[in-house]
């Protein structure tokens, strides 16, 4: 299955997004990379890198992130890994995560899972 990593400055936010997705995607390789090593607020190169490696089953990994350094640090991790099947996806975090997790669990391929995450832009609430 396609792996998914949720990157946030906040440990609880990243874990909360994972928890939110788990209800519909119990088996998907989905993991949180939130906060710093000591649990404090921020983004950690090492934690993100370890998270990406932990969900990589060879079918690609999508990384969803919150703002600012979450994007920049993830970008540096991806440059370091240098694998074009490990990519960031620019989408609303919660809506994109649930769409991607369900798609990954359903066995869709990398391009299709990414497209599902991007479709979150069209999911209007009001």
């Amino acid at each position: 299955m396609v792996g998914i990593v949720i990157v946030s400055h906040s440990k609880t936010l990243a874990e909360g997004v994972v928890e939110f997705c788990r209800v519909m995607a119990a088996e998907a390789p989905l993991v949180a990379a939130g906060g710093m090593e000591d649990g404090s607020f921020g983004t950690s190169f090492e934690r993100i890198k370890a998270a990406v490696e932990s969900v990589n089953q060879g079918e690609g990994v999508l990384v969803l992130m919150d703002v600012g350094s979450a994007v920049m640090t993830t970008e540096m991790v991806l440059e370091d890994i240098g694998d074009d099947t490990v990519q960031m996806v620019d989408c609303p975090l919660v809506e994109g995560a649930i769409a991607a997790a369900v798609a990954a669990e359903g066995g869709l391929d990398f391009a299709a899972v990414k497209e599902e995450a991007l479709s979150a832009w069209d999911a209007r609430k009001l």
């Binding site: 607020f41 921020g42 983004t43 950690s44 350094s69 540096m76």
Partner: protein, 205 residues
């Protein structure tokens, strides 16, 4: 302008200056950000100080690269990937060097700025560290490299003016951009930390 040993000494001085100014930088970031800029950089440069002896026998390029990589993995905020990429690109500009001239320093700063822009995709006037870095580079080029001390002093003066300029503009990048017009009147923490670093370098030459 500086031998390798002097470069190492200057990095220690920069780390000490960041430590000294950490509370001030954090206070600035409290006003328009998330109040961690000084904490972030102080954590990063403490680790840099630990790592410096490990690369003491390497060339200046490798030392600057190590500083960058250390900042990337320890800072935790935007200034980590930004200054991290800056130092890594700076290292590339003086690969294999065992001393640096004033001309090399211009190349180092130019590469560092390129790194910040590559990573953060900001331009002049967005109320970021670039608003101190870009004018400093221009002023140093204008001053010329014949007298390194005069060149650096011109850079510091321009960086300080850049910091003052950040008080007059709206942030459009980084956390302060959430404040919109309310960011006016406050100086940018990153522009300030860059100025602290450049001033420390100028004082050491």
């Amino acid at each position: 302008m500086a031998s390798k040993d002097q470069v190492i000494e200057i990095i220690h001085k920069v780390a000490a200056a960041i430590e000294r100014e950490a509370q001030f930088l954090t206070d600035l970031d409290n006003a328009i950000g998330d109040g961690d800029h000084g904490i972030n950089l102080s954590r990063g440069f403490k680790k840099v100080e630990e790592e410096l002896p490990v690369v003491a026998d390497k060339d200046i390029g490798a030392i600057l690269k190590k500083v960058g990589m250390t900042l990337v993995s320890t800072v935790g905020g935007a200034s980590g990937p930004l200054y991290g990429t800056a130092f890594m690109k700076a290292g590339d500009a003086v690969k294999d060097h065992v001393s640096i001239s004033a001309d090399d320093f211009i190349a180092v700063l130019e590469a560092a700025i390129g790194g910040v822009q590559l990573r953060g995709k900001a331009e002049k006037g967005e109320k970021t560290m670039l608003d101190a870095m870009l004018p400093a580079l221009d002023a140093m080029k204008a001053a010329g490299t014949a007298d390194a001390k005069a060149m650096l002093d011109a850079g510091v003066k321009a960086a300080k003016e850049g910091v003052e300029y950040t008080k007059t503009i709206i942030a459009t990048k980084g956390r302060a951009s959430y404040l919109g017009e309310r960011s006016i009147g406050h100086q940018d923490p990153g522009a300030t930390s860059f100025t602290v670093m450049l001033e420390t370098i100028a004082e050491a030459i």
